[in-house]
Symmetry: C2
């Protein structure tokens, strides 16, 4: 399995005359998940022209990787540990049949969804909660309290797709996919809206819906506080 990190490290190795450069990303994305707004950092032994570096990385990495911008940062900057907010998007193709050209870029949900019910349910996820019930069981992170500042759902007029957007200070493993899986189940009428309250209160993963497939998930943007 290829990873974006490996591909960039391979290219940096070449650009850095064979010296190993270790890349640190703001977060990992599961296989099949897309990233428009990933941020990485790495240390180079000497000063480089930033646009030349960006161009080299962009053109020498494979065709499915873009390097959009390169900036010099403080020595102690860390893509992962520096405080930031992440925005994820999740696309759901409600079509029957699905759009075959989007099969790797949206999750297909070929069942009825009451949009107004999903809109009402998603509001309950906003704010600061213990999201234990929405993460994969057995994750090593101790503190599962996170703050979601934006949780919205829209319907794309042109495609009919649902577009979920979540912004937060941090997300637990599979949290977005579990939230979307739960919201779709609620929208489909197979779970009451207030079950979200019970999942948040109890931390019981088994009360939540299934994990939505990763192909609809996009890491859209990362904004650092400073």
């Amino acid at each position: 399995m290829r990873t974006v990190q490996e591909e960039i490290e391979k290219t940096l190795l070449r650009l850095n005359s064979g010296q190993v450069v270790k890349v640190h990303g703001a977060g990992r994305t599961d296989a099949g998940v897309h990233a428009y707004g990933q941020v990485i950092h790495f240390d180079l032994p000497q000063q480089r022209d930033l646009e030349k570096l960006r161009f080299g990385l962009d053109t020498q990495t494979p065709d499915d990787i873009d390097v959009i911008q390169v900036e010099q940062v403080a020595d102690d900057f860390h893509a992962r540990y520096q405080k930031h907010r992440k925005t994820y998007e999740f696309l759901v193709d409600l079509g029957r049949p699905k759009n075959p050209l989007m099969r790797h870029y949206a999750t297909h949900f070929p069942y009825k969804v009451d949009f107004s019910v999903v809109k009402a349910a998603i509001k309950k996820l906003r704010g600061t909660h213990d999201f234990t019930g929405f993460t994969a069981s057995g994750t090593s992170v101790e503190n599962k309290v996170r703050t979601i500042s934006r949780a919205t759902v829209e319907k794309d007029d042109k495609t009919g797709f649902l577009i979920f957007t979540f912004t937060g200070s941090g997300f637990l493993y599979k949290q977005v996919r579990n939230m979307v899986g739960t919201l779709l189940k609620i929208g489909n009428g197979r779970m009451p809206i207030d079950q979200i309250d019970r999942i948040l209160e109890s931390g019981d993963r088994s009360l939540a819906g299934p994990t939505a497939a990763g192909n609809g998930l996009y890491l859209k943007e990362i904004i650092y506080d400073d």
Copy 2:
């Protein structure tokens, strides 16, 4: 190389107890070109429930093929020879760098394009013309006069992509890709607008721009006159 036609014929063979069924499409699409609105016809030896047939074809063909609708037609209907209008769309990613997730679904043109110039140039393609200068040389079709009833270009606000739309009674081999390649060259300032008149009048392929890559091209809709 897999073809959509072969995949559907393989599935029909199974659904038809091993009896060969020949599929006729309204038109061919080159490798890498997408089809949302292809129409095919075929003959079956006996009456079938149409929705069951559609469902069988849709679910038993590979994941990248959808069968959206099945209708019974007159015995003498022919998807290709029955009079119809086709609509093609062509997506151009002007981004620098391109959107990597759209690399198979839009043609990348990382150069400046004056949108108002393209808008003025595309008008010249509307109407009835001899399109010899916009087809691949050596095509066997004798009559190269075609009528284009719609030729428009829009800019997608969200993606910044150019969306070309062409509707016509018929298109010659590579005509749309050659028209787009020429329009982009004009928009980039490397060819004057009125060169379109000269290409149409002379039928000289060498005056036109390069053939745009097929990955941006979509057969969008086919509408039969009756």
